[in-house]
Structure formats: structure tokens, C-alpha cells
């Protein structure tokens, strides 16, 4: 169905960002404006998600140019779920930031940059065009560079370069690949590309020479953004320097956009024909290494922030594992896991922010006894940590269950690694729990006394942010079935692209739809 309002999800944050620039000296109107914008987008996205719960696809052709010529925005189950989860996480982190981000930092264009980040993220989820995906990535990255260096402390300055330069190189490779894709296939629209690939495989014509090379180049680009195995080294250093609310937002959104790009383009287009035999083993090995090395890295760390940051990597491994099977169940599991991970991981980071504020440090040696003084923080952390580990009725359990069961027949060794990783995750979470919350109160908590007293300002906003996400994490676990149903529709549309192509590209649909079920 056509829905020309889809552009609103990009226009609202863009307009808000411009408006907040004008109000940059006045924090309260900026906060209200930002919250109104985020909440209205969440309401829009949720209402559309309810409308397409039976697996329909909403399409908006920009400027009424039909599909392969103009830019298409697509709101299907995949992008809808991720948009809702992303906006929910953003609202929580944003509210958390009201009490956590220093006023001087807030005045340095914190609000406009947040909105710009959402422009990029929403556009990446919505766009149906490969080059537009590049543009969306760039908008998102520009905003994230700004947020990373916001506050301009020395550590941020020195660590920002790693992230900045790596992403610049990755973006350049993305441009080259997009150009080559156009040269090879004559189109950049993802649905049209899927049609191209499906036509070829139905007719038995091999794909153009070098198509596999394109797949691998794209895999490198998305893998770097998503922190897959050999390309994850930038992540821990970046996430522990910036303000904690921003780190929480990054952990929830940025890597997931990379994973989303793989989830969108590979099953539809780039894992077809010969490329399939190259890409799937790479993904499988990368998934195993990401899960295991990520969690080992987390176990070896001794700072709460670093443990959580390295955990982001290990969790990405589960999603890649689900994708690497390229079956409907595997993809649905990966998608469900992404949703719950965005919520749970961000809530852990938000808890970590409050812990730091109370204890004056995030070094596990220096904090302790938090449970006695801050019982609800302990409860929130406990629930979120167990969701991450995957204890049933909480959300992580269902994601892991689907992925590991689906993987047992395809790649039993990956499932085994997944189980070991889950166990090690429990170990690292227990480390934070026992040393941070359960241990007797340790002395050195006053070592930052001077500035700590001034810094424990009103934390109500921070607690609200944590509350939103923890409640959402529990609800995702309790309402696993409806969410999984939508994820399953999304996965069906990825493995059988007919619906997607027909919705986006009705002109070209005739060629492929006579022999449905192509797409490799």
C-alpha cells in the first residue's frame, strides 16, 4: 500500500534539529521540542506497524517517480520493528541525558546532533535505495562524530580519530561499491536489484562477473559499521569515552544499523548465485568468532563500561549467526534478537551511568554495596542483565532459543559456541553484580568526593529513562509471540522477495513474478 507520510519520519527530526539550533542557549524548550519530536515519531511508527502486522509493505515514492528511477521509502515489517525499537531506545537515552549530560555539553548542540542522528538512522531503516543508504549512513555518522567529540575532553579527542578515520575509509569503499553495482546492473534500487538477481537465477543466467566481489566489499563495509569479527576493534575504545547517555544510544543504534544493512541487502540481493557460497561461510565463521572473542574480551575487562561495550560485540555475533543461516527462521530469530538487544543493552548502559554517578567511578574495585543504598537500581540492572544472558521469561531467552535451535541442524558448532557464550555472559554479568551491587561497601568511594557531591544532581530523569527500557525489556519477553510473528513476516519477505518487489517496483514486477520464489 502507498503511504506518502513515510517521509515524516525523516522530516520531523530534521525540522526539530533546525529548530533546536535556533534555541541552542535555552535547554528547557530544546528538551520539550526534542521529546515531542521523538514521541510523535514513535506513535507514527507504532501505528503504521500495527497496520502492516499481516505482512503488508508500505511504500512512498519520493516525488511520485516510479520505483527504479526515484528514491523509494519502504516501511515493511523489518524496518518497522527496528524503527519502533530504535525510537524507544532513543527516547529513553534522551531522557536519561537530561540528568546525565553536563549542562556545558548540552549547550554545545547536543539536542540538534541527537535529532540529526535520528534523521540518519530512520532514513537508513526506511530507504529502499542503495545509494540513499550511503547518504543516510553519512548523515548518521556525521552526527555521531559530533556526539563523540562533544564536550571536547582530551580522551575523546584522541579516541575519536579511530572511529572517524575507519568510518571514512568504509564510506569510501561503500561509494565505490555502489558505483560498481550501478555499472554492473544498471540500477541501485534494492527491490530492482532483487528483481535483477531473481530474474537471472530463474532464467539460469549467471550473474555478472565480479558480483561476488561486490558482495564481499559490501560485507566489509557493513561489517565495520556493525562490528563483526575482524572489524570490531574500534568499538570498545569509542564507547567508553563519550557521555554515558550517548554511549548507550550508540550501543543500541549504530551497530544495529550495520547489521540491518546486512539483513536487508544480503538475503534479497547480495547472497545470490556464486556469492552465496562465499558470503555464507564468511558470515558463519565471523559469527562464531564475534560471539566467543567478544564475550572473552568482556570477561577479561574490569570496568563496567568496558565490559558492557565489549559485550555489544559478542551480542552482534548472535545476530550474524542468525543471518548466516539465510533461512526464514534464522532471519526471524536474528531480527527478534536485534530488537531485544537494542533495548536491553541500552538499559544496561543507562544503569551503568547511574552507578558511575553514585560511586564516582566505573572501576569494579572502587564501587560496591550499591544494592543496599539503591535498591531499585539494583533491580533494574538485575532484570536487564538476566535478559542479556537469556534467562526465561525475559526477552533474551526467546531470541537465543530461536537462533540456537535453528542453527543446530545447519551449523551445530555455531550453536555450541552460542551456548558457551551465553554461559560466559552470565559470568561477566555476575562479576558486575557481585562486585558492584552485592559486595560490602568499599572505602574509596569518596575518592572523588569533591566533585561527586556536586554531580549527584537530580537523577529523576535518569531513573525514568532506565525504567522505560527495563519495562520494555520485560514486555518484549512477555509479548514474545506477537513480536516474533512480525519478525517472521519480515523474514519471509526477505527469503521470498516477491512481496517486496511487487510493492516497491510494480512496473518491473511482471518479469519475476511468473516464477515466484527466486532470489537465491
Amino acid at each position: 500500500m502507498t503511504n506518502d507520510l513515510l517521509g515524516l519520519l525523516v522530516v520531523i527530526p530534521l525540522a526539530t534539529s533546525l529548530a533546536t539550533v535556533a534555541l541552542v542557549r535555552r535547554p528547557v524548550p530544546q528538551r520539550i521540542l526534542g521529546l515531542v519530536s521523538l514521541c510523535s515519531m514513535l506513535v507514527l511508527a507504532l501505528s503504521w506497524l500495527v497496520r502492516i502486522r499481516d505482512g503488508e509493505v508500505m511504500v512512498s515514492q519520493m516525488g511520485a517517480w516510479p520505483a527504479p528511477f526515484g528514491i523509494t521509502l519502504v516501511f515493511d515489517s523489518l524496518s518497522g520493528l527496528l524503527l519502533c525499537a530504535g525510537l524507544l531506545v532513543t527516547i529513553a537515552c534522551y531522557v536519561h541525558g537530561f540528568s546525565m549530560v553536563e549542562p556545558s555539553t548540552e549547550r554545545r548542540y547536543f539536542h540538534p546532533l541527537m535529532q540529526l542522528l535520528i534523521v540518519g538512522v530512520n532514513q537508513s531503516f526506511l530507504t529502499g535505495d542503495l545509494f540513499n543508504l550511503f547518504v543516510a549512513f553519512e548523515i548518521m555518522l556525521m552526527a555521531s562524530y559530533g556526539l563523540l567529540a562533544i564536550g571536547r575532553t582530551r580522551r575523546q579527542m584522541t579516541q575519536a580519530y579511530k572511529y572517524l578515520l575507519l568510518n571514512l575509509v568504509a564510506s569510501t569503499v561503500f561509494v565505490i561499491t555502489a558505483g560498481l553495482v550501478y555499472g554492473m546492473t544498471g540500477t541501485l534500487n534494492i527491490a530492482d536489484l532483487a528483481r535483477f538477481v531473481a530474474d537471472r537465477s530463474n532464467a539460469g543466467v549467471p550473474l555478472p562477473t565480479g558480483f561476488t566481489g561486490l558482495s564481499v566489499m559490501l560485507l566489509v563495509v557493513f561489517g565495520l559499521k556493525g562490528a563483526f569479527f575482524p572489524l570490531w576493534f574500534w568499538l570498545p575504545d569509542t564507547y567508553h569515552t563519550c557521555p554515558i547517555s550517548i554511549a548507550a544510544l550508540f550501543s543500541g543504534l549504530l551497530t544495529k544499523v550495520g547489521v540491518y544493512a546486512v539483513l536487508r541487502t544480503f538475503p534479497l540481493v547480495f547472497a545470490a548465485g556464486d556469492a552465496r557460497d562465499v558470503v555464507l561461510p564468511i558470515l558463519a565463521v565471523s559469527a562464531g568468532a564475534t560471539m566467543l572473542l567478544g564475550v572473552l574480551g568482556a570477561v577479561s575487562q574490569h570496568n563496567v563500561r568496558r565490559i558492557l561495550a565489549v559485550h555489544v560485540i559478542s551480542q552482534v555475533g548472535y545476530m550474524v549467526f542468525g543471518i548466516s543461516m539465510m533461512t526464514t527462521v534464522g532471519l526471524a530469530g536474528a531480527l527478534y534478537y536485534m530488537i531485544q538487544h537494542m533495548v536491553v543493552k541500552s538499559s544496561l548502559f543507562l544503569c551503568c551511568g547511574v552507578m558511575e554517578r553514585h560511586a564516582g567511578s566505573d572501576d569494579l574495585d572502587e564501587i560496591g554495596g550499591l544494592l543496599k543504598r539503591h535498591r531499585w537500581l539494583g533491580v533494574a540492572f538485575f532484570v536487564a542483565a538476566l535478559s542479556l544472558v537469556g534467562v526465561p521469561p525475559l526477552s533474551g531467552f526467546f531470541g537465543k532459543l530461536v537462533i540456537i535451535r535453528a542453527g543446530w541442524t545447519a551449523n551445530w558448532w555455531l550453536s555450541a559456541i552460542g551456548l558457551v557464550t551465553g554461559w560466559l555472559t552470565l559470568l561477566s554479568m555476575l562479576k558486575i553484580w557481585t562486585q558492584g551491587f552485592w559486595s560490602p561497601e568499599s572505602g574509596p568511594r569518596m575518592n572523588r568526593g569533591g566533585d561527586a557531591s556536586g554531580r549527584v544532581r537530580c537523577l529523576r530523569a535518569a531513573h525514568t529513562g532506565i525504567g522505560i527500557l527495563v519495562v520494555a525489556a520485560v514486555l518484549i519477553g512477555l509479548a514474545a509471540e506477537p513480536i516474533y510473528d512480525i519478525a517472521f513476516h519480515a523474514a519471509e519477505q526477505l527469503t521470498d522477495p516477491t512481496t517486496y518487489i511487487r510493492a516497491v517496483d510494480p512496473l518491473a514486477a511482471g518479469s519475476v513474478l511468473t516464477a515466484s520464489g527466486g532470489g537465491g
Binding site: V135, M157, L168, T172
Partner: protein, 125 residues
């Protein structure tokens, strides 16, 4: 024409890789800049020569109109140039701020700067 472009791309990428391996962030920034140009030129090279061997013009594959050069690669490059330009502006600004705050833009010195006791007095360079 495509050969000339291919050589240009090769030279640009070589230079940029050499620059990016330098320890000075200024050179790294220039390397990234050169890599962006290399990417843009490679898209032009990929789109092929607009003039065919028989003297006619290459038709754009998606529009199917004669007597027009395919405008899409140019549009892609134009977008990429603008984005590259913006990112470069940000990178250079960050370099200036870093130099002001830490007094150096050398990667090795910044790495020692990162240690808690390795900080040195800031100052303009």
C-alpha cells in the same frame, strides 16, 4: 579514456594509502581526502566512455532515451563530493581543536597522552 582514468585512480589510491600510513594526523586527513577523489574517479571510469566506438552516445540504462549521457554516475559523484567535503571540514576542525587542546597531532604522542599520567600541558602549536 578509461585507461587514463584507471591510471589516475591507481595513483590517487597509492598516494592516499602512503599518506594514511603516516604518523601525523594531518597527512592521514589528506590521505582520506585523496581516497575520496579516487573513489569518485573510479565511478566515472566505471560508467564507461560516453562516446561509443561508432561515434554515437551511450544510452542511460534506466531511462532508455537516446542522445543523453547517463546522468546517474555524475549525480552519485556530486553527492559523494558534497559529503566528502563536509566530512573533511569536520575532520580538519577536529584536528585544529585537538592541536589546541593537546599540543600535538602526532598519533604516537596522542597515544601517550591517553594514559592518565602521560598528559602534558596544552598549548597552541
Amino acid at each position: 579514456m578509461t585507461t587514463v582514468l584507471a591510471i589516475c585512480v591507481a595513483v590517487l589510491v597509492t598516494v592516499s594509502v602512503y599518506l594514511m600510513l603516516s604518523r601525523e594526523l594531518k597527512s592521514v586527513a589528506m590521505g582520506v581526502f585523496a581516497l575520496g577523489h579516487g573513489a569518485n574517479l573510479s565511478i566515472i571510469a566505471m560508467s564507461g566512455s560516453p562516446v561509443l566506438a561508432d561515434g554515437g552516445l551511450r544510452n542511460p540504462p534506466i531511462l532508455g532515451v537516446a542522445d543523453l549521457v547517463d546522468p546517474l554516475p555524475q549525480a552519485l559523484i556530486l553527492t559523494a563530493i558534497v559529503i566528502n567535503f563536509a566530512v573533511m571540514g569536520f575532520l580538519l576542525t577536529l584536528l585544529i581543536v585537538t592541536a589546541r587542546r593537546t599540543g600535538t597531532i602526532n598519533v604516537d604522542e596522542l597515544a601517550t597522552e591517553d594514559r592518565p599520567d602521560g598528559g602534558r600541558a596544552g598549548g597552541d602549536r
